[in-house]
């Protein structure tokens, strides 16, 4: 659904901004892995396209009604506009969007992997998993300490938390996949959940597959609409029938089984893809 929301607060957290939005109707439908698409600027903005953000947490009932909180890495004009919102500034919200993480029907050992701001959806996911009696281990990675998000929060809710940074400023110097095999072995992991940069998701999928463990990964592809109407956000995914199709990451995703994504071919059209090869075509 679409709602004319408003900013309630913008809070600096390390390298990021935690933005709380009043968005009645969105919180009630939220599941971890869903995202929201936010309009940028007012009617006079030259920035026409919405920006997508994984939902960090929601509150269905608060003093103000339903609220949605997101974590923003301000690096371009759209994210910087959002980071500069002041309380009660209007923000048009479309959400919740996409296919969220699937939860196990029975208790299972789950390992959650987050990269940078990508860890945002993993905390509510952890809560939901724990509510089902699951073991939850969390691995968080980022380039630097301030680009990590939610380390303390993870410690409050997980059986174990392992942190990596590229520069070694916190935790293990290296990447999440450097520590992941050891974490999975110790936890006896049945399922892996991940959210972060595409390269991390590919690597996590490979590690999981190497251990015969299913991985659900929340991808991030450039989106024009976020609601499934434009066909800009596609990536090559192998279906149940073994056929590769270009599927929309905003509706069939953002959460995919890691072993269905043609990671090596993201950004191309695989020759064996349904409807390939395409000659230079219309639009």
């Amino acid at each position: 659904m679409q709602v004319r929301g408003e900013a309630l607060s913008v809070r600096r957290v390390g390298a990021y901004y935690a933005l709380t939005l009043l968005a009645p109707g969105v919180a009630e439908r939220f599941r971890p892995g869903h995202f929201v698409a936010l309009a940028i600027g007012d009617e006079s903005s030259s920035m026409l396209l919405r920006r997508s953000f994984s939902i960090y947490r929601c509150q269905e009932r608060g003093v103000y009604g339903g609220t949605v909180e997101i974590v923003v890495s301000a690096h371009g004009p759209g994210t910087e506009w959002l980071a500069s919102r002041r309380p009660h500034d209007p923000v048009d919200v479309v959400g919740p969007l996409g296919t969220p993480f699937a939860l196990p029907r029975e208790p299972a050992s789950c390992t959650l992997v987050g990269g940078g701001y990508g860890s945002a959806p993993l905390f509510t996911l952890a809560e939901r998993l724990r509510a089902r009696g699951c073991r939850v281990d969390i691995v968080l990675g980022a380039a630097t300490e301030e680009r990590l998000f939610g380390v303390l929060e993870a410690k409050r809710m997980a059986d174990s938390v392992t942190v990596t940074t590229d520069d070694g400023s916190l935790g293990t110097r290296g990447r999440v996949t450097d520590v992941l095999p050891r974490v999975m072995e110790r936890a006896g992991t049945d399922a892996v959940y991940a959210c972060g940069p595409m390269a991390m998701l590919r690597a996590v999928s490979d590690v999981a597959a190497g251990s015969g463990v299913p991985a659900q990964v929340a991808v991030e592809e450039a989106m024009a609409c976020g609601i499934g109407v434009c066909m800009t956000c596609v990536l090559p995914v192998v279906g149940e029938d073994g056929v590769t199709r270009m599927v929309r990451s905003c509706t069939e995703g953002p959460v995919f089984r890691g072993d269905t994504v043609r990671w090596a071919d993201v950004g191309t059209v695989p020759a064996d893809c349904l409807g390939a090869p395409v000659a230079a075509g219309g639009h």
Partner: protein, 368 residues
């Protein structure tokens, strides 16, 4: 100069009032529509996703994503780039193929109560005929009109786009028209990227097009200044959004001036009801909202409401009375080079006689 319009011009801003009484019915050739608002091809997929935001039955029409004969994967990503007040896309006509479209999408749209304008595309004249023929297998009443997207490379002519050549465009339209049920109007969708859009329009109408959709995207490109290469997987792409509205208005104006009897489905850069009004005043009988749907999924209905209010404020009782109105309002005074007229008393005679002025020009000692 020209005579003022009979309707009441008002400022764009309006007070909040109840939804006004205006007859919003319109038609594209003989396809009657309850209102002039449609979605643009490729900007609403085939309706399912947009239907989460409002009932498709409330739209005048719903133009589907262009479908080709066989399933099509489309181009590599990135497939979009934001530009000032617009966007570039490089989708490459991804779609399920016409058979799946007829079997799965059209029935669903009919069940929704949508008036479906089915857009077709092809890489050859034969393919246009074949796609239209497969489309004709849909039960009667499923397809309100067929929109022929001729902004496609012709594989039989070194990949040149049909829409850029009058003969190729005409051949594509004729092929589609011949294969389509006579009870269904065929609209030709024109590209703005031509030297003379009127000659393309004439060729299409002469080949049997019952109406025209104008405009498709403008060819553009963005180079990523981080990677130092084109952003789009397809290198170039189609520019759309408010940035191109002036081009759409101009194209509609030119074609309506030349072919006033030909219905036009206007599209290009419509974001507000007043944008839609511009296209209508230029000559459009109906208006598609495209890229703006990405910014505001409810835009089609919002624009419809704004348009209704705008028409009422300006004294139009029927939407159809506004179609092409700007042409008649302009009249003969197009390029306003006026003949000499007697000046009012304030106009000084060229050779000032110096008397009665009470003030000498040179007496002013500053500001000049």
């Amino acid at each position: 100069m020209t005579t003022p319009p009979a309707v009441r011009p008002v400022l764009p801003q309006s007070a909040d009032v109840p939804e006004p009484e205006v007859d919003m019915r319109t038609s594209l050739a003989w396809a009657a529509l309850p209102n002039p608002l449609a979605t643009a091809s490729g900007c609403a997929a085939n309706g399912r996703e947009l239907s989460r935001f409002f009932p498709l039955s409330r739209l005048g029409a719903m133009v589907t994503k262009s479908v080709m004969l066989a399933p099509r994967s489309g181009r590599p990503t990135p497939r979009m780039a934001e530009t000032p007040s617009g966007m570039l896309n490089s989708i490459g006509l991804q779609g399920p193929g016409v058979d799946a479209f007829v079997q799965q999408d059209l029935p669903w749209l009919k069940a929704q109560g949508a008036r479906t304008i089915a857009s077709i595309a092809a890489g050859s004249i034969d393919e246009y005929a074949e796609v239209a023929a497969r489309l004709a297998l849909a039960p009667p009443g499923t397809v309100t009109a067929v929109e022929v997207n001729i902004s496609c490379p012709n594989v039989e002519d070194r990949g040149l786009v049909f829409a850029c050549d009058p003969d190729a465009a005409a051949a594509a339209v004729a092929a589609a028209r011949s294969a389509t049920d006579p009870s269904i109007p065929v609209l030709a969708k024109l590209s703005p990227d031509v030297t003379d859009i009127v000659s393309i329009a004439r060729a299409c109408v002469g080949a049997g097009a019952d109406g025209l959709t104008m405009i498709n995207t403008v060819l553009g490109m963005v180079i990523d200044t981080t990677t130092l290469r084109p952003v789009l997987g397809g290198v170039t792409g189609g520019l759309s959004g408010p940035a191109i509205r002036p081009v759409a208005v101009r194209c509609i104006w030119q074609v309506h001036a030349a072919l006033p009897e030909v219905p036009i489905l206007g599209v290009g850069g419509v974001r507000t009801g007043l944008d839609a009004l511009q296209l209508i005043l230029a000559g459009a009988s109906a208006v598609s909202v495209g890229t703006t749907v990405f910014n505001d999924p409810g835009a089609p209905l919002r624009v419809l409401g704004e348009l209704r209010t705008a028409l009422a404020e300006r004294g139009f009782e029927r939407m159809r009375d506004a179609v092409g109105y700007a042409h008649s309002a302009l009249g003969a005074g197009a390029d306003r080079i006026a003949p000499p007229v007697p000046p009012g008393p304030s106009l000084r005679a060229p050779s000032a006689d110096g008397a009665g002025s009470g003030y000498d020009e040179t007496a002013y000692d500053e500001g000049r």
